[in-house]
Symmetry: C2
């Protein structure tokens, strides 16, 4: 069902995001005290799809799934690590970027989702630095081209070997007629703040920039001759390990802290359902709806730090976040025909809130912090999912605190007034927690979802703050502006059915464009620029004959024939 335009390798029928270091084919993760080394050594024959070889450390989605997993593991399983040294296991090449044959053969849907996931992975590397003080040091020992350099750009510090030939480059425009769309352009202008005319030169020069000019132009942070490269890397890693430690006081991590094991998620996959312990996804294929139900915790929060650590991956907020993330990715990549995600919840509002309060109270502990940061990433993944997002707040639901963010992430929310006939569950209610107003779970635009919601009415934000901890029924939630519509029993089913039918009847493309504009009001950040601006232009180019047509650059790449372009500018 994967909409790839290509056949998955090894007879698979779905793209699976679950992996662990014992199954990595492309990366090696080594941990030595405060320093982890993550080595890219892509298995040429390990492509996710049939039909191409992953030469020269080029990558496809499968390679990136392992990279994303490795960073998750470093954060949860090795909390004592302060620095990740990101490097290549191959001589004279760091990474040649996204595999061109994979791109040329992939469907538009897969190309777009591939780029989205790789962007999220790079953002997560930066989130580890900003949120967890985990620095990444990238060692470029040879070619770092296109997506290879874009990967390096996600690091805090880039060391380039100065050997007269090694270069960084973004050759997409001259070579492939597409953009460096995995954040490359945005990070060049907005993270590294390269002068724009130099950026123009750099991004239109196939061979890239090497040595001292690369450093002078701010494309890398330092260069080192081959003979001194390892010494420079070791010195810098040590410096960052010690420096980062100083910056992480009070996070409860000492060099001896032991992590928790991210045990495999248990999933029962059937034709029309995915069932995890706390998440269920039910597909109504005729209506093109996936209903995602989140379940609250079974009991009270842990008694303290030690109990939380001992629960580990089974600790409810962490397990739920991991399950939800997996479910969302599965829908994005494997269920392209789904028009709307309908979020529901089941559980005790109070117990959910107790868990948020527990995480607040343990905010100084590394694991509590990592769990919140994980939720931040998962919620961003939802914000960026191009499907209609709907939240139904019904009797027996538990949208409190962190879970209430899902209501605010939705394009629209409906809340039932009172109870349903013959239903003895408690009336629908929402409860806010500090976390809804603190900005801890900020969207890509750097603002919390309530803050973004109330851009035009700061007073509404203040009123929401006053309501923290209250059990808000439908009337109160509507008055506070927390839900779109509060509906009576008699209107509930019809209104929602009509709305969902209508959504399913609209052009999916126009909805994708609508969401990209309506969901991210207010300030722009590097992340919103990447997803809103860079990605949109890349998607446009990915539709243009000059890239994907028969004589386009992507199609002709490697054929020995030059592309032929329609020369008209738009």
């Amino acid at each position: 069902m994967a909409e790839s335009g290509q056949k998955l390798a090894n007879g698979k029928t779905r793209i699976d995001f679950a992996t662990d270091p014992s199954r990595y084919r492309h990366w090696k993760l080594g941990v030595d005290g405060k320093i982890a080394t993550l080595t890219m050594d892509v298995d040429e024959k390990g492509g996710l799809f049939e039909g191409y070889d992953l030469k020269l450390n080029s990558y496809d989605l499968g390679v990136d799934i392992e990279l994303a997993d490795a960073f998750e593991r470093i954060r949860f399983e090795h909390p004592q690590v302060r620095v990740v040294v990101l490097r290549s296991g191959k001589p004279r090449v760091f990474c040649a970027g996204a595999n061109i044959r994979m791109l040329a053969g992939a469907s538009h849907v897969h190309k777009v989702n591939f780029c989205k996931f790789t962007n999220e992975t790079r953002n997560a590397i930066e989130d580890a630095s900003a949120g967890s003080g985990l620095r990444t040091l990238c060692v470029i020992n040879g070619t770092a081209a296109g997506g290879g350099y874009e990967l390096a750009l996600a690091a805090d510090h880039i060391i380039l070997v100065d050997d007269g030939s090694s270069a960084v480059s973004l050759p997409e425009v001259p070579l492939l007629a597409v953009l460096p769309g995995t954040g490359g352009l945005t990070r060049v202008t907005d993270k590294r703040k390269v002068r724009r005319d130099r950026a123009d030169f750099f991004c239109t020069t196939e061979e890239g920039v090497k040595g001292k000019r690369a450093a002078e132009w701010r494309l890398v942070d330092e260069v080192a001759p081959s003979s001194q490269l390892e010494a420079a890397v070791a010195a810098r890693a040590r410096e960052f390990a010690d420096g980062a430690a100083a910056g992480r006081a009070g996070t409860g991590v000492d060099a001896g802290a032991s992590g928790i094991a991210l045990t495999p998620l248990e999933r029962v996959v059937t034709a029309d359902r995915r069932d995890y312990e706390y998440v269920s996804v039910a597909f109504d294929r005729a209506a093109r709806i996936a209903t995602v139900t989140l379940r609250g915790p079974d009991g009270p929060p842990p008694s303290g730090d030690a109990d939380m650590v001992s629960q580990g991956a089974a600790f409810w907020p962490l397990q739920l976040a991991r399950e939800l993330d997996d479910a969302i990715l599965d829908i994005r990549l494997n269920e392209c025909d789904v028009a709307a995600l309908v979020f529901k919840s089941e559980g005790d509002l109070r117990t959910v809130l107790d868990h948020d309060n527990f995480l607040d109270a343990q905010g100084g502990h590394w694991l509590a912090r990592e769990i919140r940061l994980k939720w931040k990433r998962v919620l961003k993944r939802i914000d960026l999912t191009s499907r209609s997002l709907v939240a139904l707040v019904e009797p027996g639901s538990c949208f409190a605190g962190t879970l209430a963010e899902i209501v605010f992430a939705a394009d629209r929310s409906y809340m039932l007034i009172g109870e349903l006939d013959g239903d003895n569950r408690p009336a629908a209610a929402i409860t806010l927690a500090e976390v809804n107003l603190s900005g801890e779970l900020a969207m890509c635009n750097g603002l919390g979802r309530l803050r973004t919601r109330f851009l035009g009415e700061m007073s509404a934000h203040d009123k929401a703050r006053v309501a923290i901890g209250q059990v808000l029924d439908a009337a109160a939630a509507e008055r506070l502006g927390l839900v779109t519509f509060a509906l009576e029993d008699i209107d509930w089913e019809d209104e929602i059915r009509v709305f969902l039918e209508e959504r399913a009847s609209f052009s999916p493309d126009s909805l994708t464009g609508l969401e990209a504009n309506l969901r991210f009001g207010g300030p722009e950040t590097m992340e919103t620029k990447i997803f809103g601006r860079l990605t949109a232009w890349q998607n446009w180019i990915f539709q243009r004959p000059n890239a994907i047509g028969e004589t386009g650059a992507l199609s002709r790449y490697g054929s020995g024939r030059k592309p032929e372009f329609d020369t008209k500018r738009v």
Copy 2:
């Protein structure tokens, strides 16, 4: 040569941007003291192209060219005007938006450029408010759908008649499978700060929102029953006229100030040239290059305010700005095969600088201010022109002050070191003025071009400030980071030729995407969001079969047949 996909009406072969009120077919401009009334009364049979009627005040580029002209005239010819009342001359309809048949029949190139120009026109309406204190009051007497409501959104204040049927709406998504791409989505979220779930409802509801709900949701500023509409408009116009006057102290405009006439530009158009008095455009069609040469003033600046006003439209900075604007628009719409604009200048550096200093000195005078604001708009138009922009700083050139902005707007600039053999003109030099560092000529991102250029090195910005007024030779300009490359005589021709050939060989689409990302580093504003994010998604949608395919919504509009969509989400 207009790349429209349609045939221009009345046997024309080029789209002409020059007009004046005596030639308007779609608007009536009335001025009464401080209040101007601009009435939209579109001539159904006055379409720019053949093949459609402009029913219900729907518009095409021709209608918008008149609107843009009307605002220019109000600013220059009627400086005493404080308020523009923007309204419809037709009963029960304000404006039905962009004409769908025109859109459905237009080429991708024309659609994109049409949207860009209409966006620039709406931004100019807001610029008149922010820069000149000229408020716009929009009166919606009936349907304001799609581009009709987007036009209203550019106003400072919207009054909607509350008659039980009149509504504002953005029905693009449900009706046409495209976006409200003329700033609509961005202004809903970022200007009017409508709550995002309400925006979702509004933008997916064909019939729109009317009456009190429109005001409550912040979609309009006030509603008035039919019987009180005219009284409400008159009261509000009066209030704004008086309020705006108070806010414009020191701008040298009193109620009796008389404007200057924007006399027609004189152009000599031949197959491969356009010659104005101070601007020449030469096309090298084989190389796909347009060389735009700007000429400096013939003499010193005026002796004072009165002299400036009496020179009027012939005053060098104003005439040059108008000519340059016309030349750029002509290339954008009529010369789509041009890959690069090469900017050159000829004249006396010192005299150009004297004109900038004159405008600085007269900054309190309305005309000096309007001329600077005009340059701001023209330079933004250049920033947003999707062609490779190159500046060549050669002997005898006069890139000083305002003209130096063109060097900073270029994707790349080349400057000759010393003199050319047998050339007795002065060596190439650049001179900075206060205006290059003041932010007065800010780009869409709200920052000056030098500030944007030096985002990564504030110290470079400070050094540039120190150099104000100096005649900077190539070495100095390169050292200060003002040009990309300083070249010796011996390398000059070859380097530039190779560069331009290379540019012409790249995919035009990838360059368009590159420019949209590299030219606007730093902060985002509503304008950069409109051009960078909204436009990019719209362009993508304009390429998708769900909009433009045989069974797509744009193609099937009005055919009585429902569109058929590929339901896959990307």
